[in-house]
């Protein structure tokens, strides 16, 4: 047995690491030949539509489905009580969020509905239209219950309890107090208080949630096509709640039309669909329509945060304090819980600054509104907005330039490894270097000059800066330790087939960010083949190694590393056989460009396909005591650090029309440090897409609720998402601080753009409005709020 391959992935010849390669699997999307879940058709397929509660809180007194059952094309009508016999309820808590409590939740509401949009009755019919026709014939007697829709009063003594058995409407509270905050206040020159609000919004994936389940009793197999990010997790959950063994369930992800975290959660209507297929023993398809998507997709980012920052006249930040109140739904979502977003706010507020004095309280309260859970950049948009908002508040108070105060207070680049006051360990970040790079990229001094000249003309332009930390490549610390069936490790199986082509089966999944391409680039580089020889298979629990899917920006860092290790291990096995075939020492051989070559000078020896031919068709020509193995699997999980934290900084220059409150972007720059960059274009496009998504929340998106818990703007016409005209071009630059926790050194990049965007645009607006004495603190920063801030209305 030759020595293990010793070369380093970043030293490989003909390397794809750091190369912009167009994604091989994108071609089908460009010709209309993708397969999204709704595109899949099965024999005798039926469609389910759900009667959803129109009340935010109401008791289900009685259900009469008799007329519905007789409606054209109807196959079955199932109520909550009937569904509960097949599908057990769940509770969205994790043990590491101590004290988090939630009531059991069913696939279809049983005794009462607790949010407008909660599924109550399932109607299965030959067509979706027929199912909807039948829904109109279901008669339900409701008894309205008092609603809880104001998070400020959710815990008041006279506020009704959503789940009386829980004792109150508190889902979770977390408190943190480190350093000496009160001492800092006593000594500080200034203590500035401000209240920031991030309003509830949602993901609006263009492809709505979809699932197609089929049960074949002849095989005792449930096959589920699911537009999800985490097929193994879903397999586990469906198995648990339908009481079926996991290996009897196969979850397949076809093309997924955007997910951003919305599709990493488990949903009652999806459990119901799978249960229906199991009950009816035929395919049942559920494709959410846009109206039900607005009320049934998870919502996020509904926070009111009271903040305090202590600062000296010289610009030293001496304390941060936050009191974060967030309203979730009536249940904590399962299995990742609705406490993680607030947890992130507590964990990372102020984390990029040297200040050691930090006090935080997070209060997570139940509401009769759509359930809430993780959405791209989880908590980071909020915590970055308040952190960077506080820092700008401090800068304004002492008359210091916002760039200067950041230079003074950011954790220096040579301070690592460094532990934040909240206890989170940072391996290596580059706040200072990233900031200086941004300053050059955006020509900060030039912009200040332009701003001053414009002000003389009565034109109000502002510069915003936002430094941020973003969590990526999560290990078990995120979910596993709390008891969730979410794999922190991923594996790659690589095999060389007889003709020299390579199949890579991977546990991370693709939703358009380029996970498959990045994995292929890593695999090809590690093995020594060209990209065109590689086929990546992802998103199938029967075929790929058990894994965690894609979320928390983990696909490149974790999936990529698994592919690297698998590629190296396969190369080891191949050069062993080649060594036998060529009668050379395997340690003198390498694989480059699909050929076995001499390591020393790259001299070509034989084609990889020759190795395949011999191993598969002519094993008789190999020694009797030797067995070739052209399939290998390697796994990877980050071990040294619980997460691979990344950092970056965004800079924005914009003009506020003080007559209309409209914003015009002049310049938008991002410097992102995600460690080793595998595919520069894919990373930059994640940053761009992420920023625009963050700008949506910052400027346009808000779930508007009536006091009765009715979502008022749940259509594409009323809920405003970013469209092409109003959005900026973005210049992206990089600093690379690789993680040493993997050979590849790649951290994640998918969420950073979203994390920093609300902060940078708020700071830019407030910088523009500063001479007029106004500031905005409530997101989205609409024209109305901007004009109110400067007293125009």
């Amino acid at each position: 047995m030759a020595d293990m391959i010793k070369d380093h992935i970043l030293d490989r010849p003909n390397s794809y690491i750091g190369k912009t390669i167009p994604r091989p699997n994108a071609k089908r999307l460009l010709s209309g030949r993708g397969t999204f879940t709704d595109d899949v058709k099965l024999l005798r397929m039926t469609h389910v539509a759900f009667l959803r509660s129109t009340y935010a809180h109401a008791e289900i007194v009685s259900i009469d489905a008799s007329a519905a059952k007789e409606s054209n094309g109807v196959v079955a009508v199932v109520t909550g009580a009937e569904m509960a016999e097949v599908c057990s309820p769940w509770v969205g808590v994790l043990s590491h969020l101590e004290g988090l409590k939630s009531a059991p939740q069913h696939a279809l509401a049983v005794k009462k509905a607790s949010w407008q949009g909660e599924p109550v009755v399932a109607v299965v019919a030959n067509t979706r239209a027929q199912a909807e026709d039948a829904i109109e014939l279901v008669e339900i007697e409701w008894k309205e219950l008092p609603v809880v829709t104001d998070m400020e009063t959710a815990l008041d003594a006279d506020t009704p309890l959503i789940h009386p058995e829980l004792g109150d409407n508190l889902a979770w509270r977390r408190e943190l107090d480190v350093g000496d905050v009160d001492g800092a206040y006593a000594n500080a020159d200034h203590v500035i208080e401000e209240t920031y609000i991030s309003n509830r919004h949602t993901g609006v994936c263009l492809e709505t949630r979809g699932i197609l389940a089929d049960y074949n009793p002849g095989e005792d197999q449930l096959t589920i096509y699911h537009s999800t990010q985490a097929p193994h997790m879903m397999q586990s959950l469906f198995a648990k709640h339908l009481d079926i063994e996991e290996h009897k369930i196969r979850v397949i992800c076809k093309d997924v039309g955007g997910s951003y975290g919305i599709k990493v959660h488990s949903y009652p209507d999806e459990y119901a669909t799978v249960a229906l297929a199991y009950m009816l023993k035929r395919p049942v398809k559920f494709t959410a329509d846009r109206l039900e998507s607005f009320t049934s997709d998870i919502h996020a980012r509904d926070h009111r945060i009271k903040t305090k920052i202590a600062v000296s006249n010289e610009g030293e930040i001496q304390a941060f304090e936050i009191d974060d109140l967030t309203g979730i739904g009536p249940y904590s979502v399962y299995p990742r819980t609705s406490g993680i977003e607030a947890n992130q706010v507590v964990n990372l507020t102020g984390g990029q600054y040297l200040n050691p004095n930090y006090r935080a309280m997070a209060t997570v309260v139940l509401q009769n509104k759509s359930p809430m859970c993780q959405y791209r950049a989880v908590g980071h948009p909020i915590l970055t907005m308040i952190t960077e908002g506080m820092v700008d508040d401090a800068a304004r108070k002492i008359g210091m330039d916002p760039l200067e105060i950041r230079r003074k207070n950011l954790v220096p680049d040579d301070a690592y490894p460094y532990t934040a006051p909240s206890g989170l360990p940072f391996e290596n970040l580059s706040h200072q270097a990233s900031l200086e790079k941004l300053v050059k990229m955006m020509d900060y001094d030039g912009l200040r000059k332009d701003q001053a000249e414009a002000r003389e003309q009565g034109i109000y332009r502002g510069i915003g800066l936002a430094t941020f930390i973003e969590v990526t490549n999560p290990g078990p610390a995120f979910y596993g330790v709390g008891g969730a069936p979410i794999s922190a490790q991923d594996g790659a199986t690589m095999r060389l087939d007889a003709k020299g082509n390579v199949i890579v089966e991977i546990g991370v999944t693709e939703q358009g960010q380029g996970a498959e391409a990045v994995v292929a680039q890593c695999a090809a580089t590690a093995l020594g083949v060209t990209m065109d020889k590689i086929k990546v298979i992802a998103g199938d629990t029967d075929i790929t190694p058990y894994g965690g899917g894609t979320w928390g920006s983990r696909a490149a860092g974790i999936g990529g590393e698994a592919a690297v290790q698998a590629g190296k291990a396969l190369r080891q096995n191949i050069v062993e056989v080649a060594g036998i075939m060529l009668q050379s020492d395997p340690s003198t051989l390498d694989i480059r460009d699909n050929k076995i070559v001499d390591l020393a000078d790259g001299k070509e020896r034989i084609e990889l396909s020759e190795v395949g031919r011999v191993c598969y068709y002519r094993p008789d020509t190999l020694p009797k005591d030797y067995q070739s193995e052209l399939v290998v699997t390697r796994h990877y999980v980050p071990k040294q650090f619980p997460f691979a934290f990344t950092n970056g900084v965004q800079g924005c220059y914009l003009e506020v029309d003080t007559n209309t409150g409209f914003i015009d972007f002049k310049k938008f720059c991002v410097v992102e440090d995600c460690g080793t960059v595998i595919n520069p274009q894919l990373v930059d496009e994640q940053v761009r897409g992420g920023v625009i998504q963050g700008l949506g929340g910052a400027l346009l998106e808000e779930c508007l609720y009536s006091p009765e818990g009715q979502l008022l703007n749940g259509t594409m016409a009323d809920y405003l998402v970013p469209m092409a005209v109003e959005m900026p071009d973005i210049v992206v630059g990089h600093v690379e601080s690789p993680t040493l926790d993997s050979e590849l050194g790649a951290k994640g990049a998918g969420e950073a753009g979203t994390g920093g965007a609300p902060a940078v645009v708020m700071n830019a607006i407030n910088d523009a409005l500063n001479p007029l004495g106004g500031k905005v603190t409530v997101q989205p920063f609409t024209p109305e709020r901007i004009l109110q801030a400067i007293g125009k209305i």
């Binding site: 239209a129 274009q681 496009e685």
Partner: protein, 162 residues
Amino acid sequence: MTTVIEQIQISATVNGEKVTRLIEPRLSLVDFLRNELELTGTHVGCEHGVCGACTVRVNGEIVRGCLMLAVQAGGTEIMTIEGESDGGEIADLQKAFHERNAAQCGFCTPGLIMTTTELLKTNPDPNRAEIREYLSGNYCRCTGYEAIVDAIETVATERKGG
């Protein structure tokens, strides 16, 4: 059900192929294409006419497939993304989109490419603002639009001979 719904037979030419089907009047054009003809390249994103994912060409003009009844398409010539692609007319757009990563999840892509084909027909030399304006009715959540604008600009320049 008290009313008897009369099904309607329609014939249309879809991607050059004559098709005839008996359908319910309420069937939308996009559902007809996807479910009856199994041309699943055109997507449904909202059914309100706002997101643009269902954009197809009818008698040479782009329309929202979710806002047109299939029965209205009788006797028309319909072009979907599959037809545009197989026919080769968007080869340069596909290449530019591919190289610039202007398609991520791909769900908006067919409707967006359809809209782009019409843009370049009406204005072969659009500037970036004009491109953004023409695309203002196509929602993309993944790319943030810049890569798409870049790709279209590249194609417009190439077609000019630049």
